[in-house]
């Protein structure tokens, strides 16, 4: 089986689940014997090459294009970059492929064109929708339209959770029969030593992520418990979040790290006592699984995909800052709770491997090829 996958963000230039997913999925697919041509936007710096059999990485575009980073339009508007990349992909991708696999709106237009031009099936993976990204506040109608068109044209849609699947059915009116749920996975990080009480948020600082609720809950926790809060990552909300921590009077207990390297990310997961994923709307939430494999118990938003697969975690409504604080304090105070969740969650997370995700993805491929 030979597939053309159109990617967008990819290590070392990645900001979210889509990049992680493409990296590990393509490697596992290749290991399972699928020939994968992964198309990526050409970045400044050295080109990226595949180091394994069956996987080819083909960079498209000149001059260099820039990935999706809304907080700093790296030399241009993200919409323009996406548009140019999709046009180039639509024109240049050619070959004897069994199917096209694209991801989110970012590569949707190329996916639709190539399906038409090459006459082969289209798979669309939905990692997030405009409703998620906008936290349901003023979604961009142009993006909604593009997403809907891609969902309608795709032969099969892979949703990263039932949470997302239901959104596609309810908000986009997509027939549930063509949606397959394939959950994300985690590459285990490994435990470290925890010395002080640290409560961690790690992720993009965007409205979708609910970091504001994390800080409001930190304020409540600090009334009862001495600990430190770390907000790791970057994003357009960084200035307003710093301002919020000052106005809440907790800036001495909250640390903003800015963007972290991969090693720093692992380190911060390992030394934290609690990880919180407070998202307003989170299609999956790979970070929760990452934290677990670093031996850190997690509190996740009920509006998340990861909440539906994980039993050994605590869940909260993102807006319920009192309950979030109650659960953070409980994890900090009660060793028995922390240890029991930690041990059970580690066992549970072992189940979610990228090979599993790849095998389930191949099942979806077979459905459209063997028709």
């Amino acid at each position: 089986m030979r597939i053309a996958m159109i990617g967008w963000e990819y290590p070392p230039f990645k900001v979210g689940g889509l990049g992680t997913h493409c990296y590990y999925l393509t490697r596992s697919l290749a290991n399972l014997g699928i020939e994968v041509d992964l198309y990526l936007p050409r970045m400044s710096g050295e080109g990226r090459r595949s180091d394994i059999k069956n996987l080819r990485i083909i960079e498209i575009g000149e001059p260099p294009l820039f990935p999706y980073e809304t907080e700093k339009p790296l030399g241009g508007d993200v919409f323009e970059s996406v548009d140019r990349y999709n046009t180039l992909c639509s024109e240049r991708i050619d070959g004897d492929y069994d199917l096209i696999h694209c991801h989110d709106w970012l590569t949707a237009r190329a996916g639709i064109r190539l399906k038409e031009r090459l006459g082969i099936p289209l798979i669309l993976t939905v990692h997030s929708t405009e409703y998620d990204r906008s936290a349901n506040l003023c979604p961009n109608p142009w993006l909604l339209h593009l997403e809907k068109e891609a969902m309608e044209k795709a032969d099969r849609i892979i949703a990263v959770s039932y949470y997302t699947r239901n959104m596609l059915v309810e908000r986009y009116g997509i027939d549930g029969k063509k949606i397959r749920v394939v959950h994300n996975a985690v590459n285990p990080i490994g435990e470290g030593r925890k010395k002080e009480k640290i409560v961690l948020y790690l992720g993009r600082l965007a409205i979708q992520k609910g970091v504001e609720f994390f800080l409001r809950s930190a304020k409540k926790v600090l009334e009862k418990e001495d600990c430190r809060f770390v907000v790791a990552g970057s994003g357009e909300m960084l200035p307003s979040l710093i301002h919020l921590s000052i106005s809440l009077g907790i800036s001495d207990k909250v640390m903003f790290t800015g963007p972290l390297t991969e090693e720093e990310v692992k380190h911060i997961y390992r030394i934290s006592s609690v990880y919180v994923l407070p998202s307003v709307s989170e299609p999956f939430g790979i970070t929760a699984l990452e934290a677990i494999t670093a031996g850190t118990p997690v509190i996740v938003s009920k509006n998340s995909g990861v909440a539906e697969i994980l039993r050994n975690c605590l869940t909260v409504d993102f807006w319920d800052v009192d309950e979030m604080a109650n659960k953070i304090i409980a994890l900090l105070r009660y060793d028995a709770l922390r240890n029991t969740i930690k041990e059970n969650a580690k066992k549970e997370a072992r189940f979610f491997t990228w090979d599993r995700t790849a095998r389930k993805t191949i099942e979806v491929y077979r459905e459209v090829i063997e028709r």
Partner: protein
């Protein structure tokens, strides 16, 4: 064959949501800790679905078969309190069955407590006496046979129960204790002069768990089929023990459980079986051997030990915290706080914190007011911390 039916009748006082921010607040603890509204709703539903229809059915069977129809009940103190508050008719039905000679009563801890697992058994003795007094008050009867919470049993408990004046004690007929021996006989406790009734768990669970299981070879279970199984048993006495809520709550009316129950005594008697109460069993049969149980067993889960309540660190932490309050709470002499402490001992609170795997976990989930055992722990532990601050 002789058959002894015994039903456990119990409802716990379930807890309110209690956040860490509630700890130390100036609030009335009884109303703050316990969710009276939820408890009333659940109890009244159980009254409609199980307690009233089943006791009424038993009264009909009493009319049909007279004193050939015999059952035994263990009714907890908390259950009797629920009846006083919300369903006096249920208790009246039990009294009527008792008065007509169809029902025997069994002793246990008043609060369906795990205090038999405390190192010091003072609290256990006090709660057993409380329960005897409650039965004396309401039924004018002193029970002769004892059943500890969830049939938890070991040599030490048996000895203590003997000292409290009981002639018999009930526990699980598990192979862990019996090995090759049959549960269908009476045994003697090691180092104590008390007879032990062993539950026949296969036949009991055929009704309690498997009755409506379509993938079970015995399905559908009819009264005459079950009566034939009983008649075919080896031994002297078959003990069929289960939760009373089996009828109408765990097995819904649609499964045909009430029809089964209605016809069972007739079918059993037709085949020359005899129904006995627990007291009659203790009077009529002599032990055929001794059982030695150094480590506690119970009737719960596939492990048949106490891991259902003390199987993980969270459960052990809560249990130890609660146990650790005994001395201070009794010295303080505040009756209200003592009663709260005892209500918190009810085994259900720890049962909700069990993290056992899927096979057993499914059964647990059915009765659990919390979405996860972790939520249950936070709530229960916060309440224990609040109580601790009050003494």
């Amino acid at each position: 064959m002789n058959v002894c039916f015994y039903f456990e009748v119990h409802q716990p006082f379930r807890l309110n949501r209690f956040s860490v921010f509630n700890i130390g607040e100036e609030i009335e603890p009884f109303n703050a800790y316990f969710n009276h509204e939820l408890n009333r709703t659940i109890f009244e539903r159980a009254v409609r679905k199980c307690y009233l229809p089943t006791t009424e059915l038993f009264l009909e069977l009493s009319d049909d078969f007279g004193k050939d129809f015999k059952v035994s009940f263990s009714i907890t103190g908390t259950f009797m309190e629920y009846c006083d508050l919300f369903a006096p008719q249920v208790l009246e039905n039990f009294k009527e069955l008792f008065r007509k000679g169809n029902a025997d009563l069994i002793g246990e801890t008043y609060f369906h407590s795990l205090c038999s697992l405390f190192e010091d058994l003072t609290e256990f003795r006090e709660q057993v006496r409380m329960h005897i007094n409650a039965l004396m008050d309401r039924f004018g009867y002193r029970p002769k046979v004892f059943r500890n919470t969830e049939a938890i049993y070991d040599n030490r408990i048996a000895k203590e129960v003997e000292k409290l004046g009981f002639k018999g004690i009930i526990t699980e007929g598990t192979e862990k204790v019996l090995a090759w021996r049959s549960p269908n006989y009476i045994y003697k406790a090691k180092d104590a002069d008390i007879k032990v009734l062993m539950r026949n768990y296969r036949l009991s669970d055929d009704i309690a768990f498997r009755f409506s299981a379509r993938d079970w070879v015995g399905f559908p279970l009819t009264a005459d089929k079950f009566a034939r199984w009983i008649s075919g048993c080896e031994g002297e006495i078959v003990n069929i023990f289960m939760d009373f809520e089996t009828f109408g709550e765990h097995q819904w009316p649609e499964t045909g459980i009430f029809d089964f129950l209605r016809h069972l005594p007739g079918e059993l008697l037709n085949l020359d079986n005899k129904l006995l109460t627990v007291s009659e069993v203790v009077e009529r049969f002599e032990p055929v051997g001794e059982i030695d149980v150094p480590f506690a067993i119970s009737w719960a889960d596939s492990e048949r030990d106490v891991s259902t309540w003390l199987g993980n660190d969270m459960q052990i932490t809560c249990f130890n915290e609660l146990k650790g309050l005994e001395k201070r709470i009794k010295e303080k002499g505040d009756e209200k706080l003592l009663r709260i402490w005892r209500l918190l001992q009810t085994s259900d609170h720890l049962y909700y914190l069990s993290t056992k795997g899927f096979a057993d976990g499914d059964v647990h989930k059915y009765f659990n007011p919390y979405s996860t055992p972790y939520e249950g722990f936070i709530n229960y532990m916060n309440i224990i911390q609040d109580l601790k601050q009050r003494i």
